[in-house]
Amino acid sequence: MNSPFSFTKRLILIFIAIIVLVIMGREYFLPDSWGMYGNYRGNAVHEEANRSLVYGTNNSCGSCHEEVYDMKRVGVHHRLSCEICHAPVTEHVDGNKKIADMPVKIGDAQSKLCLTCHQKVLGRSEKFPMIEYPKHLEDQDVKLTHDCNICHTVHAPLESMKYIKKLRTLKEKVQE
């Protein structure tokens, strides 16, 4: 026969056991870096900081492709990220070794890419250079099968224009 208090005593024991279990569980499972900087796992900051890059910068491309880099840097496309028109540098180079060719858009695909920015679209600032396509080709008296690169040399789009204009006036003079 138990005492009238035995049930309560046993229940209190169970209660304490549960609390102890929770405390022990926390001690066991808590990650080491918890509380390092605050109420979170400190290593998470370092893990995020150490995540590998996918894109580089234009300088990454310039470290090998000097001529294009120099040419682009002085033109109106200097701010354009090489990797946006091509692909992320890590898809092309691993460390110092080339692992794949960079995709290069040509023909219609290229014109489409140019138009992504340069198409005359409502909402774009009037100060930004825009054209209507294919009206632009007609206006410039250029073959409708031409892609943008033929006149514009995409890496420095306005540089060639100077010479093309000079050549045209030259051509007209020659034809006279």
């Binding site: 138990n2 005492s3 049930f7 209660f15 569980g25 499972f29 808590l30 918890w34």
Partner: protein, 389 residues
Amino acid sequence: MEASILNYVFPNDIHAHWTLMIVIYPYITGVVAGAFIVSALAHVFHVKALEPIAKFALIFALSWLIFVTAPLLNHLGHPERAIWMLFTPNFSGPSMMAGFGYIYMAYTMLLIFEILYIYRSDFIELKKTTTGFKRVLYGVLTLGTNDESKKGLEIDHKISLFLGAVGIPLASLLHGYVGFIFGGVKAVEWWFTPLMPIIFLLSASVSGIAGIILFYIIIKKITGKISEIKTETIITLVKLLWAFFIFDFVFELLELGVHAYGATSGWHHVSATLNGPMYFSFWIMQIFVLSIVPFFILGYLSLAKVSRKVLLVLGSFVSAMILVQVLFMRWNVVIGGQIMAKSERGFASFHPQLFEKEGIAVTIIMLVAPVVTLWLLSKVFPLWDRVKE
């Protein structure tokens, strides 16, 4: 809203993230809290008319409590990490959801302990008359004690009273914190109100009381013992339901009313949602069919002299209506708050599927399971005291 060309929702916001599982979670904890309050009224406040269902209310609460974590674990992207709520709760926010681990654990212990105290003398009796597995089970549930002395029973009674009393604020916390989870989110105008914990708690009480009325009548009917129901018990429960329901409804309307009066730009978006995609579920179902109509039925049952038959039939019918009303209320809060997109220019969408991870089928299973569990528990815990001849 006709012109869908005006509709705009942030790209990550297009579909509701908190779906059926989050609708039924507060529903289940609400029933638990409400049922516990009924039992506490009987036990702690000695409301004589409710004494026949005091034990039943506790077991009813337990059968729903067992399933409280189910919808949440189903919803989590990493349920295996759920233990972090217990080990690394964010108390510096403080995140209201972080309270879940401790509040749920504390309340579960309290409810089980109270049930063990209340049933101890019953189990010691039953130990004498059962054999095999059941006998062992009763032995475990009495923690191996056999004391039936007067002092022992007195201690049982005193402590269960104490637990019942402590249980009232704890049950309120179990459900009140859920209200705070929504009420503290300033990003969602429909949720951001200090009345949210109160509204949730009141509708929880309502769902618990209604659940007890409905299942009390149904169980007694099925077991052919309908005559054992005291009219006094049902009348008291119905009046209790009406009173709590009035408070619940008034607070809900007050919240709406003050916001509508203030007419801030946030309110304009809320009202567009309530009058648009939420029109049927809010105005028609929650307010008219399931609030105004039950209000009058409950009023009639409480104030007029009705026959026992009408009381039992209409009482169970209106309780069922209230149970559905509370489900609609949870739906309107959880889903409505997300449909009312953060872009302030449109509505997100929510289309529950029958067979998906958080779909309709799973929801039905999770709402039926507590009822099945109640039946199973009744095999171990006698729901009613033996009728004194």
